[in-house]
């Protein structure tokens, strides 16, 4: 059954720490590279954790800054100051 959520980000230096954080925090994540963009699929749920991104960049990160590199996504969104979550409820 189709059950992936996904997020797609521009393939640029700003997105790198976010991509790395997603891979660390989501064991089921599959990274698909395409020219200019990276699409990450994950079954049912994908989380971006602020602290993990901050570890990667060695500084502060505001989760809303993903709007600058975001290309597309699929899934219900849950966002607060610490986590950005995409999930399906079935």
């Amino acid at each position: 059954m189709a059950e992936n959520v996904f997020i797609a980000l521009q393939n640029n230096p700003d997105a790198q720490p976010i991509i790395e954080a997603i891979v660390d925090d989501n064991p089921g994540a599959v990274v698909n590279d395409s020219p200019g963009m990276v699409k990450i699929d994950c079954p049912k749920r994908l989380v971006i954790k602020r602290v993990t991104v901050e570890e990667k960049i060695g500084g502060e990160f505001n989760l809303q800054d993903i709007h600058l590199t975001l290309i597309s996504l699929s899934g219900n969104i849950e966002e607060d100051d610490d986590e950005f979550v995409l999930h399906w409820n079935f």
Binding site: A2, P35, M37, W88
Partner: protein
């Protein structure tokens, strides 16, 4: 000493800045002030249940949009300064960009208008704010696209008449009628059509594999505005999903209405995207992914996951999606064959794919391609080599709903043309598919009034009844139409290649 004020968290900030901004009107009743958000039958009990999951507030919106624009325009300036038109993969590629400019860019403007209407039309302030953001976004998309393409317009044909031919060219009524259908519906249907069916379910196919293809084909300008626009699109898609969930959670009577809209707008959107699939399969000299594969990823996998999620509300996947999936092996070949035969009546060039490209299509599409489409292309190629490039002598019959030429075939028989007829008030109306026929029959009074360009042209209402008169009325010159090989674009491209090959670089003539 004053204590440092605590920063609000995201949720508190959103609540503070999006609630309590409006009021119950007293000079006029709320129904007078918001006259359009009830007649469709959608029942809303509590508009405050509306939530933007991004919790985007006006101040954050402006901050991010300004940043996106700064990045975008820095790149657009560099595209112009560095003669980036020389870096594209092949001169043929630019025809995909022409389709974008002629067909998609005006939709951005139409979306700006539509969402401005919604930003006024809903009585819930949260939904109004989200629609106002989107309206401004769509204006930005329109402007940045015109700006980006203005550089290509200095060199290539097919761009300069974009706003005139948007209204006049027969083939551009395909995208145009789509949006006009949506904006002439009520506000809930409009937002379901655009934000959900088009943006959530389908535009990933335009903005992801196609724009990634633009990157692969060396088109920095399209890549940059494409991804920049799509970053807004994520917000629009989210708005689309939220409005669907909101309507379904507010009242059980909303389900059958929403389901009918999804059925209609899935099919309308799918038909329109056949054009994007054709751009991917035929107009990107360097391939990223075929339409078939993109359909499997973005519809069969991602789209179905979405509908699995929505099943808890009683919603089922849109009608005829199985037919769309059956068509994935042929839709782009049928489309390209049609544009190929009619490009003398468009501001586009077409061509027969190279042998290598035909091999790629064979590998992606298998037996059906090898038995049906490839022999046709090889036959046309032979004709062309004999100096008898094949063009149709007259304009096609187009579907009364999607306005695409009736070239589609039966879902289970790729060799049988599909043309379905509905008779309404003594007039016969032709449709391309069961999907379009259902749409017509549900609202015949709307679609019997559709402006069908080939019919208008032959009635002499478009500058005269001959193709020549019609082209004059479009302000399109012969040299801008028809076959790519030997065209002005092709000759210029070959000159650039020859210059680039010279050891002493000579600046290319513009």
């Amino acid at each position: 000493m004053a204590e440092k004020p605590k920063r609000l968290n995201l949720n508190q900030k959103y609540q503070l800045m999006t609630r309590g901004l409006d009021w119950e009107t007293t000079y006029q009743s709320m129904d007078e002030v918001f006259p359009y958000d009830r007649y469709e039958g959608i029942k809303i009990k509590d508009w405050d249940k509306w939530q933007d999951p991004f919790r985007l507030t006006m101040d954050a919106y402006w901050k991010y949009q300004a940043e996106k624009e700064r990045k975008l325009y820095a790149i657009l300036d560099s595209v112009a300064q560095n003669n980036s038109q020389l870096n594209i993969s092949d001169g043929r590629y630019m025809n995909a960009v022409k389709i974008w400019m002629q067909g998609v860019t005006p939709l951005e403007y139409a979306a700006f208008r539509g969402f401005a209407m919604l930003g006024r039309g809903f009585r819930g302030a949260g939904a109004r704010v989200a629609c106002q953001f989107q309206s401004i976004d769509e204006m930005r998309h329109y402007q940045t696209q015109v700006h980006a393409f203005s550089h290509y317009n200095k060199y290539f044909n097919g761009f300069n008449q974009y706003s005139r031919i948007r209204d006049r060219a027969w083939y551009l009524s395909i995208p145009k009628s789509y949006f006009e259908d949506a904006v002439s519906a009520g506000p809930f249907e409009l937002i379901t059509a655009i934000s959900f069916s088009f943006e959530y379910v389908l535009t990933n196919l335009l903005f992801m594999p196609f724009v990634s293809g633009a990157a692969y084909n060396g088109d920095m300008a399209t890549t940059t505005f494409g991804f920049s626009a799509q970053s807004d699109e994520s917000r629009h898609m989210t708005l689309g999903l939220e409005i669907i969930k909101f309507m379904l959670e507010q009242h059980e009577d909303n389900l059958p209405i929403v389901q009918e809209w999804l059925d209609k707008w899935f099919w309308r959107g799918y038909r329109l995207l056949g054009l994007v699939g054709t751009m991917m399969d035929y107009m990107l000299p360097k391939k990223v992914m075929s339409w078939r594969q993109a359909w499997e990823i973005y519809w069969e996998d991602n789209g179905m996951a979405l509908f699995n999620d929505l099943a808890r509300y009683g919603l089922r996947p849109p009608k005829h999606h199985e037919a769309a999936t059956k068509e994935k092996y042929r839709i782009t070949h049928e489309f390209w064959s049609t544009i190929y035969q009619f490009s003398h009546a468009t501001a586009l060039y077409t061509w027969i794919p190279t042998t290598e490209e035909l091999d790629w299509l064979s590998a992606e599409y298998g037996e059906l391609f090898d038995t049906v489409y490839r022999p046709r292309y090889e036959y046309w190629q032979e004709l062309h080599e004999k100096g008898e490039r094949f063009f149709q002598k007259r304009l096609p019959v187009v579907c009364n709903v999607c306005q695409i030429p009736i070239f589609h075939t039966m879902p289970d028989d790729p060799l049988m043309n599909c043309c379905l007829v509905s008779e309404y008030k003594g007039t016969k109306h032709q449709m391309c598919s069961q999907g379009c026929l259902d749409i017509f029959n549900r609202e015949p009074e709307k679609y019997c009034q559709a402006y069908i360009p080939p019919q208008q042209i032959y009635q002499g209402n478009c500058g005269g009844a001959s193709l020549e008169d019609y082209r004059k009325w479009l302000h399109i010159k012969d040299e801008e139409t028809g076959e790519y090989y030997g065209s002005e674009d092709h000759v210029m491209w070959e000159q650039w290649q020859a210059q680039a090959a010279k050891p002493t670089g000579v600046a290319p003539a513009s």
